[in-house]
Structures are given as structure tokens and as C-alpha cells.
């Protein structure tokens, strides 16, 4: 599988420490020694709270920033020497996108697509999916709501059918229906073999749409895994209502923190569920709930290590 994005020891520090006696605090370490490989055709989630270094990473990939150390390639092009070639093949949605208010939506999309010298082959489908009608696109951008501006941002990033889409907080300002429509758009793009680099702090959407995820903390990569494998390894919370003696769960692989209070048995379940279900065979229970594992727990676990 070819790499759409690679980063080797990618580092970005802001500020200068001209004098060695100067306090290190004056240098902001936005990204430190990041190693990463994103495969072609995958939806890759880049997770971290505000200020973790997500946007810095994106800006390094697109050549807005110059690395302090290390290197990166996008679609085989070096970010320092070939950023123009990179941008010819990439669609980018900046976080909190700013648009030209005096232009109509359609003129703006024409203008931004014209700068690529590519036809807006995906525009009509995107506008249809995101419910941006022709009449809406004829209105000046200044009349658009926040959600409509975000939809414009998505359309301008994807309308020319880029090989790689870099989307910074793409669902910010979208209502739940539009979020769902956007996830469908991503699924379509993925089916066509395109790569999507997706930065977000909304864990549920990353869990829903991404194949793999990187978690970044204070500019350092703390996890890089398949979403499914990450979730498999999470502890799930189990509750069962007893109508008789409690089943013996001590020693069952993956089961821990067993507690029984007033006929309610709770425990944690990790990994394969089959030994647990076998242990329940014939148990006197009236109700059983196994809460699905969520990325949130994994995320919080990585961040808990910090405190």
C-alpha cells in the first residue's frame, strides 16, 4: 500500500532561543519528532484537544509552515521543496474557514476551482448532498449562516475531486443531519480510493468514519492504531440484573472489577467476549447490558497519563 503522507521526525518550534541563557519557555514546541505514515485510500483521524498540534501538522504538510527539524512528504512530494505540487493534488478545508463575503457562493466556488485549473467535477453532487441549492449558491456569501459557510468550505475543498483531502474540524457548525450527509460524502470518496486526513476533537465522529487514528498530546504522538483494534482493547462496562445467585466470573479472561450491589452485578470486560458469555451460560439474570467501547475512553486514558 502506497503512503499518501509520511512524516519523519517532524518538528515545529515557534520562537527563537538566540541566547542559551534565555528561558526555554519562550520557545513553543508545537510539534516534536512526529513519525507517521498514512496510507492511500484510508480515512485517517488526527485527534487531540485544542492546541495539541493538529493544525500545526496540517500547515506543515501544506507548506504554510516550515519545519524546525524532520521532513514530510505528501503524495510523494516533499513538503518543503514541492508544496505547490502537493497543493495541486490536495483539497484543504481550514478550521473556521473565512470566505469572501461580497461574492456569491457560485462565483466563489468558480474562483477557487479556477485557481486549481481543474473542473469542478464533484461540485454538483456535493451541493446536492449538502443541500446547497442553485438559488442558495447565487446568494452573496455574507447572507450565509455558519453552517452554510461550513458547507461551502467542504464543497470548495472537494469540488475538484482531489487525490487527498485534508479536513480540519470539518463538521464544526453542521447540524446532525448535515453531519450525517457529510459522513456519507466521506464514505463515497473513500470508495473511490481517495485519501482523507481528518483532524478533529469530536471523538464520536472520528470513531464513526476513520479507519485509523493518531492521538497527539502536546505536540507528540501518543497513539497510532486502527480504530477497531483500539476499541477492542478498551474495557467495556457490563451490567446485569440478577434474579438468583450471581454467576461465578472470578478468573474469567478479560473480566475485572466485579461488584454486586442490590441484585445488580457490574464488571469490566476487555477483549474477546466469548469466555464471558460462556461463563454466563444458565445464569439467573433478567437483563444484561454490555456498553460498547468508545474512543473517548481510549482518548481519556492517554490524556489521563499526563495528570
Amino acid at each position: 500500500m502506497n503512503a499518501a503522507i509520511t512524516a519523519r521526525g517532524l518538528t515545529k518550534h515557534y520562537g527563537h532561543r538566540r541566547d542559551p541563557r534565555q528561558r526555554p519557555g519562550r520557545v513553543i514546541e508545537a510539534l516534536t519528532g512526529l513519525d507517521l505514515e498514512i496510507h492511500e485510500g484510508e480515512i485517517f483521524g488526527f485527534l487531540g484537544p485544542n492546541g495539541a498540534g493538529k493544525t500545526t501538522m496540517i500547515r506543515l504538510l501544506l507548506g504554510y509552515l516550515h519545519p524546525s527539524a524532520g521532513s514530510a512528504t505528501v503524495l510523494g512530494f516533499d513538503t518543503e521543496r514541492e508544496s505547490q505540487a502537493i497543493r495541486a493534488h490536495v483539497g484543504y478545508l481550514p478550521g473556521g474557514i473565512a470566505l469572501y463575503d461580497t461574492m456569491s457562493g457560485l462565483d466563489l466556488l468558480d474562483y477557487l476551482c479556477g485557481l486549481y485549473r481543474r473542473a469542478p467535477s464533484r461540485r454538483a453532487a456535493l451541493a446536492d448532498r449538502l443541500e446547497m441549492s442553485a438559488a442558495t449558491l447565487r446568494r452573496p456569501v455574507r447572507d450565509y449562516s455558519r453552517g452554510m459557510r461550513q458547507k461551502m468550505g467542504i464543497i470548495q475543498a472537494l469540488q475538484h475531486d482531489p487525490e487527498l483531502a485534508i479536513l480540519d474540524e470539518p463538521t464544526e457548525g453542521l447540524d446532525p443531519l448535515m453531519q450525517r450527509a457529510f459522513y456519507d460524502v466521506l464514505a463515497d470518496i473513500k470508495r473511490e480510493g481517495r485519501t482523507i486526513f481528518f483532524s478533529s476533537h469530536i471523538l464520536s465522529e472520528v470513531e464513526r468514519v476513520c479507519d485509523r487514528v493518531a492521538i497527539i498530546r502536546r505536540g507528540r504522538l501518543v497513539a497510532l492504531q486502527d480504530v477497531a483494534r483500539l476499541l477492542d482493547r478498551r474495557k467495556r462496562h457490563v451490567e446485569m440484573r440478577l434474579v438468583g445467585p450471581a454467576p461465578s466470573l472470578e478468573g474469567v479472561p478479560g473480566v475485572s472489577a466485579i461488584q454486586t450491589v442490590d441484585g445488580l452485578l457490574t464488571c469490566q470486560l476487555e477483549g474477546d467476549v466469548r469466555p464471558f458469555l460462556a461463563a454466563l451460560d444458565g445464569a439467573a439474570i433478567s437483563d444484561l447490558t454490555i456498553e460498547p467501547a468508545h474512543l473517548e475512553e481510549a482518548f481519556l486514558e492517554y490524556y489521563a497519563e499526563e495528570t
Partner: protein, 272 residues
């Protein structure tokens, strides 16, 4: 130059451009009118007597190197007048300072530079647009001047063949000012500092030139001003100094060199 960015820049400025061009054309037409009124009327003759008698200081009638009692001098006075300077500076300073720093402050530069345009190409396109605006501005004022001179029967007093050189000299002056403002624009993330540097350079430069023309003791300051290298009366009289053009071209090149060195190397962090 990027054709799409150039077209968009021209379209975005068209209303402002039309207003400024109309104002400059009217201003250019005004100078021959004032001159004709001074020369051809008894009131003008009385005023000239007052000046000749020394009641009115001669420097005031030769503001900025002009002379209201000759047509080339009147035109020179009009070209260096604060109103003409302010009108042309709408583009030389206002457009140039906002071209990059303004877009950056609004956040729209992100969207443009996400496209396959190098920063050098973006800069060259904006510089090209600036020069087009300045050429049109100077053309408007000179066209107004020639039309008005003809309307008042004074065209014979004007060596029209020298007008293109005057236009070139004026365009070079404002391009020099604009290149400084554009260099400031690519160097800052906010409009305020870029505009401050562009305006500051222009105002100080203008002040040195005018102060030197009104107060002999301040004459040594004049060569420090870019306005010193536009002498419309000499150009119209056929006594243009090529050195003036060289100095203005050198200032322009310095601004361009700064911008081409600084802009591509700058980090463009996320707008705050």
C-alpha cells in the same frame, strides 16, 4: 502572474478604481482651469501683482516645486498636491498594504494559498495588479489635464510629447511607494502594521519634500524623499533627469527584493 488571481483582484477593486479614476480625472482637469482663470482674468492679474510685490511668499505659489503662473507649473503643482497624492495612495498604499496582510487578517489568504500558487507568484500577481491600478490612475489625471488644457485653449502651452515621460515618472514614484507598502504587507499578519509602515514612509517622505520646498534650511532633507524624484515641471519643460527614474526604480527593486526574500520563507501560522 496568475491569470485567475489577477482577474479576481481587478474585479474586486473595480468600484473603488472607477471612483478614484473619476476623481483624478476631475482633479487633473482642474489645474488648467485654475491656470486659465489666473492668466486670463483681472482677478488673476491682481493676484500675480500681489505675489510679485512680495505680500504673498513666493514659496507658497511654488508649492512642491510647482508654479501657478505657468501651465506646466500648475500641472506640477496639481500632481504634487496632497489631494492628488491621497487619491493615488488609495491604491499605492491602501491596496498594497491590504493585499496580503489584509487577506491574512481576514483569513482568506489561507484559502488562496491552499491552491497550487506559489507565494512568489501570488506576490508578482499583486504587484502586477498594483502597477495596472497606478498606470490607470496616472493616465486618468493626465488625460483630465490634456482635455482641460484643450478645452480652455491652452494646449499650445503644453509639450504634450513630454506627457508619457511624466506619466512614467509618476507611475514609478507611486510604484516605489507601493512596493514599500507591499513589502510591509507580506511581512505582517495584520493590516495595522503594514498600513502604518506604508503610510508612515509616504507621509515622512512627503513632509521632507514639502518642508524643503518651503524652507531653504530644510532643503538637504529633500533628496531623502522619494517625492523629490518627481519633478513634473522639469519633465514637461523637456528637462527630465534620468537619475530620478533610476532612484525610483532602485527603491521599487529594494521593496520587491525584500518581499520576494521574506514572503516565501515566512511561517504562516493559523490566524488567531
Amino acid at each position: 502572474m496568475d491569470r485567475v488571481l489577477f482577474g479576481r483582484t481587478l474585479r474586486a477593486q473595480r468600484t473603488k478604481l472607477l471612483i478614484v479614476l473619476a476623481a483624478l480625472a476631475v482633479w487633473g482637469a482642474l489645474m488648467p482651469l485654475v491656470y486659465a482663470e489666473l492668466i486670463d482674468t483681472p482677478l488673476g492679474a491682481q493676484f500675480k501683482q500681489m505675489v510679485d510685490s512680495g505680500i504673498v511668499p513666493a514659496q507658497l505659489t511654488k508649492f512642491g516645486g510647482g508654479d501657478i503662473f505657468t501651465l506646466p507649473g500648475s500641472i506640477a503643482l496639481g500632481l504634487i498636491h496632497p489631494i492628488a497624492v491621497a487619491l493615488v495612495c488609495v491604491f499605492a498604499i491602501g491596496f498594497a498594504a491590504a493585499a496580503v496582510a489584509g487577506e491574512r487578517q481576514r483569513g482568506t489568504l489561507e484559502v488562496i494559498l491552499a491552491r497550487p500558487i506559489s507565494r512568489r507568484t501570488a506576490y508578482r500577481t499583486l504587484l502586477g495588479s498594483l502597477i495596472v491600478f497606478l498606470c490607470l490612475a496616472i493616465l486618468a489625471v493626465l488625460a483630465g489635464t490634456v482635455a482641460s488644457s484643450a478645452a480652455f485653449g491652452k494646449l499650445g502651452e503644453l509639450k504634450v510629447g513630454n506627457m508619457p515621460l511624466l506619466g512614467l515618472n509618476a507611475v514609478l514614484l507611486y510604484t516605489a511607494l507601493g512596493s514599500v507598502a507591499l513589502a510591509a504587507s507580506v511581512s505582517f499578519d495584520r493590516l495595522g502594521p503594514a498600513l502604518g509602515i506604508g503610510l508612515g514612509f509616504t507621509i515622512v517622505s512627503y513632509f521632507f519634500e514639502i518642508l524643503g520646498s518651503l524652507w531653504p534650511a530644510a532643503e538637504p532633507l529633500q533628496p531623502l524623499s522619494v517625492f523629490h524624484y518627481l519633478d513634473p515641471q522639469s519633465v514637461l519643460d523637456g528637462k527630465a533627469a534620468p537619475f530620478d527614474l533610476v532612484v525610483l526604480a532602485a527603491v521599487t527593486l529594494a521593496g520587491v527584493a525584500w518581499a520576494l526574500a521574506v514572503f516565501p520563507r515566512r511561517d504562516l501560522a493559523a490566524p488567531s
